[in-house]
Every structure is written in structure tokens, then in C-alpha cells.
């Protein structure tokens, strides 16, 4: 039997996190009414011309810098010509030569626990097409151009991957990095991060590349894995039967878990690339590239080491590394002298969910990092209970003021004062004599009931530990 090794390269499309499209001012928001976010530019009207979105350029360069690519100070857009109803101009505007970024690499974890690095060929900018909606019932096809003109980067790897595991690990790592850097939202189910897989087989140890199949448009890590596994089996069978592998474009049917041919090499498009005459060369001055490089946040790996050293839980670390602004917020709060564990848990349980509900970035939230740090300190001191903070959090979040003052004003601080507590405890015992007797007779579990009553009487402000201590002391068998 032949000992074959898979050779895999990936082409990843990530939608850039910009407010507007690549060549016009239409919004990129998802889920709008069909054909509502369009204008003469992105719907391909006669005479309309593209104008470059500077933010998209910056994000593409940022992605390249984070991946160790060389950012070209001069790159060029070309027209990639083909006909399809969702392509309003009859061409896609993409970068052929030179692209915005070249080279680079990304390392990832291998199955045996080691690390491996895959080289990148390039990162380039291009615009997305619209989409066709086929209405089988009415027998018509409709075109929605809302997505047309949305900015994408295409990241092309060298054929450095050799298993479905490696491909998936690489992709997960890349996805996490780009989402962390806010280059993309990365919502795969909405097609914001999708992947083409080039795969061929060759006798192990050979340095020649075999004939490859290209599996198009996979939008989940799982499908990437399944499609590669299927192709390895399919191509291996061809080799074993002595049949040639054909160079073709493949579609992965996720329901059946198999690939099928879309078009052969002979049917492949001749894209007739040539320089897009409506866009001058894209110039990114060296100084801008340097500024972007300096502005890059620390890498997620480096940040992870730091967070581990702080003793945070894995779930908290993973959360803070989801988005660069989460980490930035955490670091800013930490700089105010809060306790890292309390800051992280407040962010995890209360603050970030609230931000998500409001749909805003943490750094734009009314609760500044300093206020969250202050809240963490209050929590650590035990002056206000966790339950109370939870209850008042919505208000604290919105107030835009130091929570210490607000909690004080609300009289929310815990009653730890023995005199005041003792009075409440005595009241509770008088009100529930039977339960008090039960506890005194040794029925331990009644204690929590009584503590609950103390909490209720105090409007939730009693320090529960202190209350329990006082109850125990009051009801302890006397004179024995």
C-alpha cells in the first residue's frame, strides 16, 4: 500500500470590521431588508466609481502585521472579471500584484502537543459579492446586494498543513487572533469567516506537489475537518486504483458529508485580471505602517502568560482574550489597583454581559475601568455584599460615577455593626420562636432560614456571616 501524505493550503476570507463598505459609504450591517443598504456604487450603476475605505486598509495592514507579514507601502487593485447575478459590476475588485501584505506565518498546536508554524503567502483586500436567493416555489431567483461591496481580506497560506487536525487548529488560532484584534467579528454562521481548502496527496517524503482539489466556501471548523477527511479518503482511493486525481473545484455537502465537483480545470474561469483603472495605487506611508506596528496590542500568547500568572481562572482568561478591548479594559481597571480576581469576575459575571446587552464596546461603557476597580475593592473589603452589587449593577453601570459614593448614598453598605445587627437578630428570634427553639435543640439546618429572615429584615444589608455568628451566639445552649 502507498504511504501518502496530504498537502493542504488554505485561503481564508474574513469580513473586515468596518462600519461602511470597501468602496462606498453604505453600511455593512447584517440583517437589513434586502437591497436597502445599497447605492449607485455597490449596485454597479453606469458611471459610478469606487472610493477607498481607509479603515479597511488599516485593518488589513493590522492583520498582516500581527501575522508577521511585510506590509507593502504600495499595492494595487485589479479587476477580476466574471459574470454572476450577485456581482453587480461584472467584476470583483481584488488585489493581485502587489497585495497589501506578503509573507508571514502563524504557529499553532499540533496533535502531539508540539507547535508548528504555517507560512503565509499573502493577505489581500477585496470586495464581497451580493447573494442570490433561489425561491423554488415561485421558480425565481432574487438578488440581494446588501453584502455587495463589503470589505474582505483573503489570507492565503503556503501548502504547509498536513492533516485536518492541523487545518482546524490553524484556523481556530487565526480566527481567535483576528477577532481579538477586532479585524473581524468572525461570525462564521453569517459567512464573516470562511475558508477554501486546497488539498492534494503525495508519497510521503516526496517534495513534489500532487494534483489538487479546491473545496470552496467552508464556514465552520467542523466542516473544514470533515471535508479534508473526505477528500483524503477519496483521493487515496483514486491513487490506489491508479486513477488520476483531477484538478477541480469542489463543493462540500455538509448534510451528506461529502465533496462533489463544481467545475473542472477546463471549465475554470479565466478571470482576465488587469489593474483597476478607477483606483490609483494604494499608498501606505512607512510612517503609517510603523504607527500601526507600534499600536499592535501584545499578542494573545503573551497576554495569556500574564493572566495565568495573575491566577485567573481559565474561563476568565479565555473571555478576556476574546477581544482586545476586553483585555484593555481589564488592564486599565487593574492599573487602578483593584484585585485581579475580583475585577475579572465582575467583568465576567456582570460588566461584559451588560455591555453586550447594550451593544457597546467596554471602553465606551459609562462604567469606566476605574469605577469597576473601585467596585472590586468594595467587594473585596466585604463592605457591600455580592448580592447587593448584583442587584444594583444596572444602576451602577449607567451612573457614570464612582460606585463607592453611589452605594453610600443608597445606604447599601452592609450592616456589620454588632449593635445594629444584634437588634435585628433579637427581633427575628422573637418573631420565629419555634424555629429558634428547633435550632437551639440542635437542628442545624434551621440556621440558614433564620439568616434569611435577618437578611430580609435588614433590607438585604446585613452581613450574612456576622448574622449567622450572632444567631449562633444567641441560641447557643446556655449555662451548660
Amino acid at each position: 500500500m502507498l504511504d501518502l501524505e496530504p498537502v493542504i493550503g488554505l485561503e481564508i476570507h474574513a469580513q473586515l470590521l468596518t462600519r461602511t463598505k470597501l468602496f462606498c459609504a453604505c453600511p455593512t450591517e447584517f440583517g437589513a431588508e434586502p437591497n436597502s443598504n445599497i447605492c449607485e456604487v455597490c449596485s454597479g450603476q453606469p458611471g459610478a466609481l469606487p472610493r477607498m475605505n481607509g479603515k479597511a486598509l488599516e485593518l488589513a495592514a493590522t492583520a498582516g502585521l500581527a501575522l508577521g507579514s511585510r506590509v507593502n507601502s504600495r499595492s494595487l487593485f485589479s479587476r477580476k472579471n466574471y459574470f454572476y447575478p450577485d456581482l453587480p459590476n461584472g467584476f470583483q475588485t481584488s488585489q493581485l500584484d502587489p497585495p497589501i501584505c506578503e509573507g508571514g506565518s502563524l504557529s499553532f498546536r499540533t496533535a502531539d502537543g508540539g507547535t508548528k508554524s504555517a507560512r503565509l503567502n499573502r493577505v489581500h483586500l477585496e470586495d464581497d459579492a451580493g447573494k442570490c436567493v433561489h425561491d423554488e416555489k415561485r421558480g425565481v431567483s432574487l438578488v440581494d446586494l446588501n453584502r455587495a461591496g463589503t470589505p474582505l481580506i483573503e489570507i492565503v497560506t503556503e501548502p504547509d498543513l498536513s492533516s485536518s487536525y492541523e487545518a482546524m487548529e490553524f484556523l481556530k488560532k487565526l480566527h481567535a487572533l483576528l477577532v481579538f484584534l477586532k479585524v473581524t467579528e468572525g461570525r462564521m454562521e453569517e459567512g464573516e469567516f470562511r475558508c477554501d481548502v486546497n488539498i492534494s496527496l503525495r508519497p510521503r517524503g516526496s517534495s513534489q506537489l500532487g494534483v489538487r482539489g479546491e473545496i470552496k466556501n467552508l464556514n465552520s471548523f467542523k466542516f473544514v475537518g470533515q471535508a479534508i477527511e473526505y477528500e483524503i479518503v477519496r483521493q487515496t482511493a483514486l491513487y490506489e486504483r491508479g486513477e488520476p486525481v483531477l484538478q477541480e473545484t469542489l463543493h462540500f455537502d455538509s448534510r451528506k458529508g461529502e465533496t462533489r465537483s463544481l467545475r473542472s480545470k477546463e471549465e475554470a474561469h479565466d478571470y482576465r485580471y488587469f489593474p483597476q483603472p478607477d483606483l490609483p495605487p494604494v499608498v501606505v506611508p512607512e510612517a503609517t505602517i510603523e504607527a500601526l506596528r507600534r499600536g499592535l496590542p501584545e499578542s494573545p500568547e503573551r497576554a495569556r502568560e500574564r493572566l495565568v500568572a495573575l491566577g485567573l481562572r481559565e474561563a476568565q482568561i479565555a473571555l478576556l482574550l476574546e477581544r482586545v478591548e476586553f483585555l484593555e479594559y481589564f488592564d486599565q481597571a487593574l492599573a487602578q489597583g483593584g484585585e485581579s480576581g475580583k475585577i475579572a469576575s465582575l467583568m465576567e459575571e456582570l460588566f461584559l454581559p451588560q455591555c453586550q446587552k447594550e451593544g457597546i464596546s467596554p471602553l465606551e461603557a459609562p462604567m469606566k475601568p476605574a469605577f469597576l476597580a473601585s467596585l472590586a475593592k468594595i467587594l473585596a473589603s466585604g463592605a457591600v455584599g455580592r448580592r447587593k452589587i448584583q442587584e444594583l449593577f444596572g444602576e451602577l453601570y449607567l451612573s457614570g460615577r464612582d460606585p463607592a459614593a453611589l452605594l453610600e448614598a443608597k445606604g447599601a453598605s452592609q450592616i456589620s455593626d454588632e449593635g445594629a445587627l444584634r437588634e435585628i437578630v433579637a427581633g427575628v428570634i422573637a418573631k420565629f420562636p419555634q424555629d429558634a427553639r428547633k435550632y437551639a435543640a440542635g437542628e442545624e439546618k434551621v440556621l440558614s432560614f433564620l439568616v434569611g429572615k435577618v437578611m430580609k429584615e435588614s433590607g438585604g444589608r446585613a452581613n450574612p456571616q456576622k448574622a449567622a455568628e450572632l444567631l449562633k451566639a444567641e441560641l447557643a445552649p446556655r449555662g451548660v
Binding site: 449607485e40 449596485s43 454597479g44 450603476q45 453606469p46 458611471g47 459610478a48 466609481l49 469606487p50 472610493r51 477607498m52 479587476r79 472579471n81 459574470f83 447575478p85 453587480p88 459590476n89 461584472g90 467584476f91 438578488v143 479565466d270 482576465r272 485580471y273 488587469f274 483603472p277 478607477d278 483606483l279 490609483p280
Partner: protein
């Protein structure tokens, strides 16, 4: 007082500002002249009577606005400029019912300068042609001889200005489409430097070559329109941010301080005798006036036609890809499958010349041919640009003929496209170089047809070009009105 329709922009402006003539009267005179001459010249695809008159009356009510350099003046616009509410057909069946929702930047600028667009003018389909015979709607006739072509592709604009329908019109020039019809109809035509004028909202033909520019009866009027339409536009990334000099108040030049370079590649060629004679007479008059004429070579311009037809067609083949019958424009309804929809819509919606250039452009960009055609043409274009830079080191301006033959009878070359392409040899190099050029009449040939010359200037040197043009205009005064009924 002359007829109102006979006034130049400058003369009409004076009367308007003094309130001796109302805007409405001027617009009515233009519309009436269109009504009278249109059966002979067929220059217009649409008139805008109601909108134009309404605008005119508003202006009359508000009173003159002298700061607007085209206040109250009627103009025509070639039917490639998107104008909301008016069909913009580009001379094609494909866009017969297309009504743009947005306005071409140049039309916005004209409107803001106070101009009133009274009609959209005829052209070769998608500005591809040099006779206006390739209009899907009708051929335009040369006002000097109705059996002859007016030139193209801005043939409607040139014929309309020559026939006194309007004192000025806006055309586009990709390979000579303003300068050649201006010469054929005996008026002034200016192609600005590439990037001087925004291309936004102009139905694209050859994107790296297209420029909008004026057709008028005097050089000063051309300068006035150019002033209004020039300048940066955030919607066109290829439009220059350079400041726009004054093209209205032009300095006068001394003929004895002017050196014109005559490329032997053009002047030593073969000419029709009537054209040759008119050109020789013009050269003699220039010398008599004290202008220095010297031979200045542009060695690579003989490759201009081949280079131009490769590059322009390549760009056109993809610029016209959007006309697929899917979103707007003509759609052949017979086919229910996609390839058939494309094939039928494009075969029926696009004319012969447009299809020819799409095929040519598709071919030169195809895998295996790109290097031999497109890439090589792009290289030669750079060499031609070098020729121009060098030539402007030796002479102030280049003086070139516009056409070696006079306006020809209809149908003369429709079956022989290659010969017709070759006739563009003296206009296309300027577009490849990206430089500005001014075409103006030097007189009538023995055959009674206008003969023109072009002045070429360095990139963004329109001001000097207009000054030199004004000087030449003194030597070759504007032609009288053509003998229309």
C-alpha cells in the same frame, strides 16, 4: 442685434447680467433653434423643455448672480452624463429606459455655476466610434454638409454647437471624441488633462482615458466651461487634487514668443488635398504672425492606434460587463436560464461596434494573450508619455492636424473598422499621454468643409493652452454659421 441663438457664451452672459435679455428668452431661443434645425442635423436624443424653462423663470425672478460663471446659459450634455429624471442612454438600446438616480459631478458643477442643460446629445454607442453612426437611435448629420458625418463620438454635441442649437456643450474624449467632431463641425473642443475633471457619473468607456470637456464656438467659452467643471471630487479617486487656475481671465500671448512643435510623424503623412491645402495655409499664416514652428518628433506615436485600441477595449470589455440585463437596462425575456439571459440581453441590447470592442478587449486580457497585448500596450503607453515630456522640453505646445481627411459620407467605413480605427492616429496619443488638447478650426477647405488643428499642452497646463489657443483664434477666427435652412 444678432439672433439670440447666435450669441457666444460670453456675449450672452453680458446681455443677461445687464438684464437686456431674460434667461427665459435665451432658453426659448435655444429650444426654438433646436426645433428648427433638428430635422436636418439630428443632434439631440432628448430635450428638457419644461425643466429648462422652469429653471430659467426662477433665475429671472431671482435676478442675475454674476459670481456664477455660467449663470442662465443654456448648454447641452452628451448622453453619457447621468442626470436624474432624464433618460441617460449612452446611445445604446441597452440603456433605453435607464433613468439615473444620481447626478454626474460635472453636471452638478455646471448647475452650481448657473448653467441650464437644455438637451442630451447623440453619440456613438457608449462613446465608441468617430462618426456618431453607431448611435443605436439615429445618425447625426454634419451641419456643413448633411450627407457627411459630424465626427464622433461627441458628434451630437459638435453638430448642435455648430448649428447654433446651444452656445456650448459638454462632451467626452477617450481617443479624440471631443476634438475630432469639433474639427469636423468647425467648432472649438477641449480635452482636459486626465484627472482635471471628475469622471463620476459619466458612463464609462475607457476609464484610464476618458475625460469630459467643452465644445464651444470660441476658446474663451471653452475656458469658461472648463473653469466650472474642473477640480477635485471625493467621489472620483483618479480626479486630481491640484488647484484649478483661472481659465476665464486669460492672459494674452505674444506670437513671437510662441514655439510650436510639429511632429513629422503626423505632418509628413498623406492628406486629402483639400485638407492639406487648408493646413498649409494655416501654417503659413502662423509663420506670418511670428510664431516659431519647428519639427519636434514623437517617435512612438505611430504605435498609438494599436496601443489605444488594446487598452481602451480592454477597459471597455469590463466596464460594459455590468450591462447584463439583471438589475437594470435591457433584458431579453425569452430565456429562462442564466447563460441565455446574458447572451440574449447583451446580443440584442448592445450594438455591433460595442460588441466588437468587448470581444477585442476580452481577447487581449485573456490568459495567454495578456502579456503579448495588454501588458505590451501598457508599456508602450509609458513610452508615449515619455515622448510627450521630451517634446514639451523642445516646444511650448505641439501643433497637430486632427484628421487627414475631411468629414466623410455616411457608411464610408462601416464595413471596414480597421481603416476607421487608423483614422484616429492623430487624436489617440494625447489620451494615452494624459495631456490636455484643444481643437479649433483653421478655416474651410476647398470642399466647403471645416478643417481643424489641435494644440497639445503639458499635463495640467490648460491655462497656457487656452492662452495659446486664444492667440491662434485671432489668426483663424471662428467660422460663420453653417449653411442650414
Amino acid at each position: 442685434m444678432p439672433e439670440l441663438y447666435d450669441l457666444t457664451l460670453e456675449a450672452a452672459r453680458e446681455l443677461l447680467l445687464k438684464r437686456e435679455v431674460k434667461v427665459e428668452e435665451l432658453v426659448l431661443a435655444s429650444l426654438e433653434r433646436i426645433r428648427v434645425t433638428e430635422p436636418q442635423v439630428s443632434a439631440c436624443l432628448a430635450t428638457r423643455e419644461e425643466e429648462a424653462l422652469e429653471l430659467a423663470r426662477d433665475m429671472d425672478r431671482e435676478g442675475p448672480a454674476p459670481e456664477k460663471i455660467l449663470w442662465g446659459l443654456p448648454l447641452s450634455a452628451k448622453d453619457v452624463f447621468c442626470l436624474p429624471g432624464t433618460p441617460t442612454t449612452a446611445g445604446s438600446r441597452m440603456l433605453e429606459n435607464y433613468r439615473p438616480t444620481f447626478e454626474a459631478t460635472v453636471l452638478t458643477k455646471l448647475r452650481e455655476a448657473g448653467a441650464i442643460i437644455v438637451c442630451k446629445t447623440n453619440l456613438d454607442e457608449f462613446a465608441m466610434g468617430s462618426t456618431t453612426e453607431f448611435s443605436a437611435y439615429k445618425p447625426t448629420r454634419n451641419p456643413w454638409n448633411l450627407a457627411r458625418v459630424p465626427g464622433g463620438s461627441s458628434g451630437g454635441a459638435a453638430a448642435g454647437v455648430a448649428a447654433r442649437q446651444v452656445p456650448g456643450g459638454l462632451g467626452t474624449d477617450t481617443g479624440g471624441s471631443i476634438r475630432q467632431p469639433a474639427a469636423f463641425c468647425g467648432c472649438v473642443g477641449l480635452k482636459p488633462s486626465y484627472g482635471r475633471v471628475s469622471r463620476y457619473g459619466i458612463v464609462a468607456y475607457g476609464s484610464s482615458l476618458d475625460q469630459a470637456g467643452p465644445l464651444t464656438r470660441t476658446v474663451a467659452d471653452a475656458g469658461r466651461i472648463l473653469s466650472a467643471i474642473s477640480g477635485p471630487d471625493g467621489k472620483d479617486s483618479t480626479c486630481s487634487n491640484l488647484p484649478v487656475p483661472d481659465f476665464v481671465n486669460l492672459a494674452s500671448r505674444d506670437p513671437r514668443a510662441l514655439t510650436l512643435g510639429l511632429p513629422p510623424e503626423f505632418w509628413d503623412g498623406e492628406f486629402d488635398p483639400a485638407v492639406r491645402e487648408a493646413l498649409d495655409r494655416a501654417l503659413a499664416e502662423l509663420r506670418d504672425a511670428g510664431v516659431t514652428l519647428k519639427s519636434v518628433s514623437l517617435p512612438r506615436v505611430p504605435y498609438g492606434v494599436a496601443t489605444y485600441y488594446i487598452l481602451a477595449s480592454a477597459e471597455a470589455s469590463t466596464n460594459l460587463a455590468r450591462y447584463d440585463g439583471v438589475r437594470y437596462g435591457f433584458r431579453a425575456s425569452e430565456s429562462s436560464e442564466l447563460a441565455g439571459l446574458y447572451r440574449d440581453s447583451r446580443s440584442k441590447g448592445l450594438g455591433q461596434e460595442a460588441q466588437r470592442r468587448i470581444l477585442l478587449g476580452t481577447f487581449v486580457l485573456s490568459s495567454g494573450y495578456y502579456d503579448a497585448y495588454y501588458k505590451k500596450a501598457a508599456q508602450i503607453r509609458r513610452l508615449i508619455q515619455e515622448d510627450f515630456v521630451k517634446a514639451f522640453g523642445e516646444a511650448d505646445f505641439i501643433l497637430a492636424p486632427v484628421s487627414s481627411i475631411p468629414p466623410w459620407p455616411f457608411g464610408a467605413f462601416t464595413e471596414d473598422p480597421l481603416t476607421q480605427y487608423q483614422l484616429d492616429v492623430m487624436t489617440v496619443p494625447l489620451n494615452l499621454a494624459g495631456c490636455p488638447g484643444l481643437s479649433l478650426p483653421v478655416g474651410l477647405g476647398a470642399d466647403g468643409l471645416p478643417v481643424g488643428v489641435q494644440l497639445w499642452g503639458p499635463s495640467f497646463g490648460e491655462q497656457g493652452l487656452l492662452e495659446a489657443g486664444s492667440l491662434l483664434e485671432k489668426i483663424f477666427p471662428p467660422l460663420p454659421a453653417p449653411p442650414l435652412k
